[in-house]
C-alpha cells in the first residue's frame, strides 16, 4: 500500500523533524532572502531568508499534529454522541439529528471563520473550528454503524446474557463501528489538512513565525510575482498528504468492508 508508506514517511518526518531539518526553521538571515535552490538551501529561502526545507519539515510536524488534534476532538464529540443516538434512539436521537443537520447546512469555511472570530486566531482555535466542522460526518457514520450493529442478534444475545448497556456498547458495538469510523476519520483528516491550509492562508490559523503549510503558502503568495516557485513545496505537501489519506480511506474501506463469513 503506497498510501500507507507515504503516510509513514510523513509521520517519521514529523517525529524526527528536529533532527531532519538542516537549519533552524525560524532563523532569519536577511542577506539570503528569496534565493533559489542551492547546495546550502535545497529548496531556497523565503522573504526573510529562512530555509524553506527546514520550514517544510517542521510544518509537517505541526500539520500532522494539528490534524490529529482536530480529528481527535471531533471523534471525542462525535463518537459518543453517535453511539448514544444510534443505540438508544428515541427523542435524544431526533434532537441531536436536527442539531447536526443544522450544522451541516452552514457553509464550512464561513463557520470556521466565525468560530475563529469568536475565539481569536491561532492554530489551536482554528483546529477547534475545524473539529466542529467534521463532527457531523463522524457522528453520522458512527450512528448508522451503531444502529446496524445494535440490531444484530448477537447484541440481543448479549442483553439476554445480562450485559449492561455500557458493556454492550464497549465490547460488542464499538468493535463493529471501528472499521467505518477509521475510514471516515482518514477522510476527515484530509479535510483537516485542506482546512488548516485555507485558514492559515487567510491568516486565521497559525500565526507568524510558526511554520505550517498554510502559513508558508501565505508567505509565498506575497512574493508570487518574483519568486513563484515558493508556492510549490507546501502545495505539493498538501496534495500528497490528501491523496495519501484519501487512498488510505479507500483501502481501509475495501479491507475492512466485508468480513468473510464461512457459512459452508
Amino acid at each position: 500500500m503506497t498510501s500507507l508508506a507515504v503516510l509513514l514517511i510523513l509521520v517519521l518526518v514529523a517525529i524526527f523533524a528536529g533532527l531532519i531539518a538542516p537549519q533552524d526553521p525560524n532563523r532569519v538571515t536577511l542577506r539570503v532572502r528569496l534565493t533559489g535552490p542551492s547546495a546550502e538551501h535545497w529548496l531556497g529561502t523565503d522573504e526573510l531568508g529562512r530555509d524553506v526545507l527546514s520550514r517544510l519539515v517542521v510544518a509537517t510536524r505541526v500539520d500532522l499534529l494539528a490534524s490529529l488534534e482536530a480529528v481527535g476532538i471531533a471523534a471525542a464529540i462525535g463518537v459518543p454522541l453517535g453511539l448514544a443516538a444510534g443505540y438508544f434512539g428515541g427523542v435524544s436521537d431526533l434532537l441531536l439529528g436536527r442539531v447536526i443537520d443544522a450544522l451541516m447546512t452552514l457553509p464550512p469555511l464561513i463557520l470556521a471563520v466565525v468560530v475563529v472570530a469568536i475565539l481569536g486566531p491561532g492554530l489551536r482555535n482554528a483546529m477547534l473550528a475545524i473539529a466542529v466542522l467534521i463532527v457531523p460526518g463522524l457522528y453520522r457514520v458512527v450512528r448508522a454503524a451503531t444502529q446496524s450493529a445494535g440490531s444484530e442478534l448477537y447484541v440481543e444475545s448479549a442483553r439476554a446474557a445480562g450485559c449492561s448497556n455500557w458493556r454492550i456498547l464497549w465490547r460488542h458495538i464499538l468493535p463493529a463501528v471501528a472499521p467505518p469510523l477509521l475510514v471516515q476519520a482518514s477522510f476527515a483528516a484530509s479535510v483537516v489538512v485542506v482546512a488548516e491550509a485555507s485558514l492559515s492562508f487567510l491568516g486565521l490559523g497559525a500565526r507568524a513565525p510558526q511554520a505550517t503549510w498554510g502559513s508558508m503558502l501565505q508567505d509565498a503568495s506575497s512574493n508570487i510575482t518574483t519568486s513563484g516557485y515558493l508556492v510549490y513545496p507546501p502545495t505539493v505537501m498538501v496534495a500528497v498528504t490528501i491523496l495519501a489519506l484519501s487512498l488510505l480511506g479507500d483501502g481501509l474501506r475495501d479491507a475492512l468492508g466485508r468480513r468473510p463469513r464461512d457459512r459452508a
Partner: protein
C-alpha cells in the same frame, strides 16, 4: 411443584401512537392476552407459523422487550417490577438460545470470551474459576479445548449452536427460552443439538420454553404444548393429548400439514412405537 414461569394477560402491541414524535399507524397486536404456565423442570413447546408472535412472546417473558400489559412471574420473581440492575442479575438464572448461531455470537469475539461473558457480567468468579467453568461447559456440550481459541467463522453451524448452548448454560440457569434452536442447522446436526438439550434437561432439571414451527421437533422434547396463532394461544395442554386429540381446528390443520403424514404417503404408516402419531394404517 413450583412454577418456573407464570404469565397472565401478557400483551404487546406494535405501532401504537406513543409520544409526540411517533408516526401514527395501524396497531398490530403481536401478543394478545396470553396466559402461560411452566412447572419447574418441564418443557413447554410453543408452536405456530411465522408471524404468530412466538418469538415476541419468548422475548417478552425474559423482558428483552417491554410488555404493554400483563404480569410475568419468572422463577418466583415478578420481573416487571425489577430495576435494570436486578433484571441483569436475573439473566444468569433465565436466559435464551437464539435461532441462528451464525449471527447470535459476536463475530469478533473468541469462542472462550463469548462463553465466559455471562459469567463475567454476573460477577463473583475469579479469572481462573471462569476459565475452568468455560472449559467444563464446552466439554459438556461436546466441544474440545482447542475450540476455545477460535472465532465463530472458523466453526460449523452445529458447533456454533453448541457454543451458544454453552454460553446459556454457564451460569447454571433454571429456565431457558429456546427460540427455534435448530432451524438454521443442517438436518443431520439438528438431532445432535436436540439430544443435547434433552440430556441437559434431565441432568440439571432446566425448564425450557421451546419455540418452534416444526411440530416434529416439539413432539420430541415438549411435555406440554401451546399452539399460537396471530398473537393468541388457541390450544394448550399435555403434549400427548394435543398431538393425539387436538381440540382446536387450527391445531388439527397444523398436524395434518406435517409432511410425510398425509394419506398419500402411506410409507410412514402407523409406527406402533410412537403413540403420539395418529394412526394411518397400511403399508406403502
Amino acid at each position: 411443584m413450583t412454577a418456573a414461569l407464570s404469565v397472565r394477560g401478557l400483551t404487546k402491541v406494535y405501532g401504537r401512537a406513543g409520544g409526540p414524535f411517533r408516526r401514527h399507524g395501524p396497531a398490530l397486536t403481536a401478543v394478545d392476552a396470553v396466559d402461560l404456565d411452566i412447572e419447574a423442570g418441564r418443557t413447554l413447546g410453543l408452536v405456530g407459523e411465522s408471524g404468530a408472535g412466538k418469538s415476541t412472546l419468548g422475548r417478552l417473558i425474559l423482558r428483552l422487550i417491554e410488555p404493554d400489559a400483563g404480569s410475568i412471574s419468572l422463577l418466583g420473581t415478578d420481573i416487571a417490577a425489577l430495576s435494570r440492575r436486578e433484571l441483569r442479575r436475573m439473566r444468569a438464572a433465565a436466559t435464551m438460545i437464539f435461532q441462528d448461531p451464525y449471527i447470535s455470537l459476536d463475530p469478533r469475539m473468541l469462542i472462550k470470551d463469548s462463553v465466559a461473558e455471562p459469567l463475567l457480567v454476573s460477577g463473583g468468579h475469579t479469572r481462573a474459576r471462569r476459565r475452568e467453568k468455560v472449559s467444563d461447559t464446552l466439554r459438556r456440550v461436546g466441544l474440545r479445548e482447542t475450540h476455545m481459541e477460535r472465532f465463530p467463522h472458523e466453526m460449523s453451524g452445529g458447533q456454533l449452536q453448541r457454543v451458544a448452548i454453552a454460553r446459556a448454560l454457564i451460569t447454571d440457569p433454571s429456565f431457558i427460552v429456546c427460540d427455534e434452536p435448530v432451524a438454521a442447522l443442517d438436518v443431520s446436526t439438528r438431532a445432535q443439538v436436540i439430544n443435547l438439550l434433552n440430556d441437559l434437561r434431565e441432568e440439571r432439571g432446566i425448564s425450557y420454553l421451546f419455540i418452534s414451527h416444526d411440530l416434529r421437533l416439539v413432539r420430541l422434547i415438549a411435555d406440554e404444548v401451546a399452539v399460537m396463532r396471530r398473537g393468541s394461544l388457541v390450544e394448550k395442554g399435555e403434549a400427548a393429548r394435543v398431538f393425539d386429540h387436538p381440540e382446536h381446528e387450527y391445531t388439527r390443520e397444523l398436524l395434518a400439514a406435517i409432511p410425510g403424514r398425509s394419506p398419500r404417503s402411506r410409507r410412514f404408516g402407523g409406527t406402533p412405537r410412537s403413540p403420539g402419531l395418529d394412526p394411518i394404517s397400511g403399508v406403502g
